[in-house]
Amino acid sequence: MTETPLLSVRNLVLGVVRRGRPSTIIVDDVTFDVAQGELFGIVGESGSGKSLTLRAIAGLLPGGVEIISGSVEYKGRNFTSMTSGERRALMGPEIAMIFQDPMTALNPVVRVGEQIAEGPRRHLGLSKKDAMDLAISMMAKTGIPDPIRRAKAYPHELSGGLRQRIMIAMALSCRPKILLCDEPTTALDVTLQHQVLGLLEEMCANFGTALIFVTHDLAVVNETCKKVAVMYAGRIVESGPVRSVLRDPRHPYTKGLLDSAPDFDHPDRMLKSIPGFPPNLANRSVGCSFAPRCEFAQPECVASSPQLEEVGPDRLSACFEKFTIFEGAHA
């Protein structure tokens, strides 16, 4: 990509810090770029570090977890060297986030209309009335029926689907350049998930917003994103354009995920689960963290850890056997 990326995460390392010293590395050497308007997915299972990576970008790391090294640059400005005030000024007009559970992100005692209007008032300097008008129009855009009446409701008076729409309206009210999504549809039923994903896609296209979408569901990534990074045990093991990664995986973990999830379009395919368990991050081995579960593992996989290397146009994989093992498998 020739243009400068909107957001660039460089060698990000996150760790649990105890008594001033890093004890466990939970996100290790994560690097990726997100361009203007790009739809970027991060896939992984629980404990892969996908949500923490996202939270590091948003500056919302939970207590005890800190950035050990690496940088997050937004439009060339490094987050890690900013004051918290400067960071906060970015959250809203430049970067916004939506969560899995809207109930925890919305203030239960403030009417939803006011909650949406708060951002535009603070960041865009709108008057109270203008901000409320904007809030109502955002609610209408996100497909909330009867937005004028609903704006006066409290979060608990709305259904889960509507709350998720409120959160999207709130996140997009200042037209951010990047929308961070942490499993936004996992708690929703399928028909609502379908509606919300469609809405996200449409809104991002309209506003030119880039999306960083964290999920465990490969099919959701397939339908929502254009680029994807697969994370395992705190590292990116494979990345590239969604279609080519999911059609022709170049890392055994990606392949394992694809083989273990039932595919709606191929119901008769045998499922093949990944044997074993994710490694204990507190005592990492020197080798590839996937090696103990990998059917293709070679002696070198246990001896040293493979780095991300190019395996095709815009594609990276961190596997020593990346070129040999899948030949013909998905061609």
Binding site: G276, F277, N280
Partner: protein
């Protein structure tokens, strides 16, 4: 399918980790450790008081009353010439014994009543909880003092008075815990396993709610010791001349300006004991709260 060996490997690892973690949790648990040291010292002194106390705690020596601390009497003597340090040691025996024993009856009785009410609900629950509310609404000391007047002062009536008053707290706590525990899926599974209500209550729910009650019992011992001392101070507790911290404070207070240690040291002991037991309670609640994960 996961290969059984892989399952086995992971399982053994986590087991070892769990063991070392629980050990670590014991000695890294600051409050628990500090509390156990404090209470431990007091308990050891109390148990061995007959051996280590320098004087007989009730033997009067009217020739050497109200002495200031000296090498012969580290904490001086009281108005009847009794050694304050010895009385303090023997007093710990009485106060701790009553404190710990007085917790037992309400603990057992209250827990059973609360468990039955919480598990079965219905009219039994309604009736029990109304009774509990009545006891709860009563001021603690008013009941205790009234009962001591009825039954006369002395150890038995203190046990009785405390039992009557404090079972309600156990009933409330256990009832709440049982109500939560009985909605857990493992209780439904036990029902489906054809087990009787009693069996489920005792074997499946009981162990899961017990830790909360034990934690409360620690703070209840504190309250009981306070109650005994207060009763002693009010002259309603253990009859003299048996040494007891509360009556020592009462005896010492008239000389507070000249012989400050006589009232202050027993008072301080009450505070230290309370602190130690409270720390143990805090530490235990960290340690025993079931690791529900997530």
């Amino acid at each position: 399918m996961t290969t059984p060996t892989a399952v086995l490997v992971k399982f053994k690892q986590s087991r070892r980790a769990a063991n070392s973690r629980s050990l670590k949790r014991w000695y890294q648990n600051g409050p628990l450790l500090a509390g156990m040291i404090i209470v431990g010292i007091v308990v050891v002194v109390a148990v061995f008081a007959p051996l280590i106390s320098p004087y007989d705690p009730i033997k009067q020596d009217l020739l050497s009353t109200l002495q200031s601390p000296s090498s012969a009497h580290w904490l001086g003597t009281d108005k009847l010439g009794r050694d304050v340090l010895s009385r303090l040691m023997w007093g710990a025996r009485v106060d701790l014994r009553i404190g710990f024993l007085a917790v037992l009856i309400p603990f057992v009785f209250g827990s059973i009543i609360g468990a039955l009410a919480g598990y079965f609900g219905g009219w039994f629950d309604v009736v029990v909880m109304r009774i509990v509310d009545v006891f709860f609404a009563f001021p603690f000391y008013v009941i205790v003092i009234a009962l001591v007047f009825v039954f006369g002062s002395g150890e038995t009536s203190i046990y009785l008075a405390i039992a009557v008053v404090s079972w309600v707290a156990y009933a409330k706590i256990v009832r709440g815990e049982v109500i939560v525990a009985k909605t857990q899926d493992y209780v439904t599974a036990a029902r489906l396993g054809g087990m009787s209500h009693m069996r489920i209550l005792v074997r499946h729910i009981g162990p899961n709610v017990l830790s909360q009650v034990i934690i409360y019992a620690m703070s209840d011992i504190v309250m009981d010791i306070m109650a005994i001392v207060t009763l002693g101070y009010l002259g309603l507790g253990i009859a003299p001349p048996t040494p007891e911290w509360g009556s020592m404070i009462l005896d010492g207070q008239e000389f507070i300006t000249t012989q400050w240690q006589q009232a202050t040291i027993p008072g301080l002991m009450v505070v230290v004991m309370s602190l130690g037991l409270s720390w143990i309670g805090d530490g235990l609640s960290d340690l025993l709260s079931p690791d529900r994960r997530k």
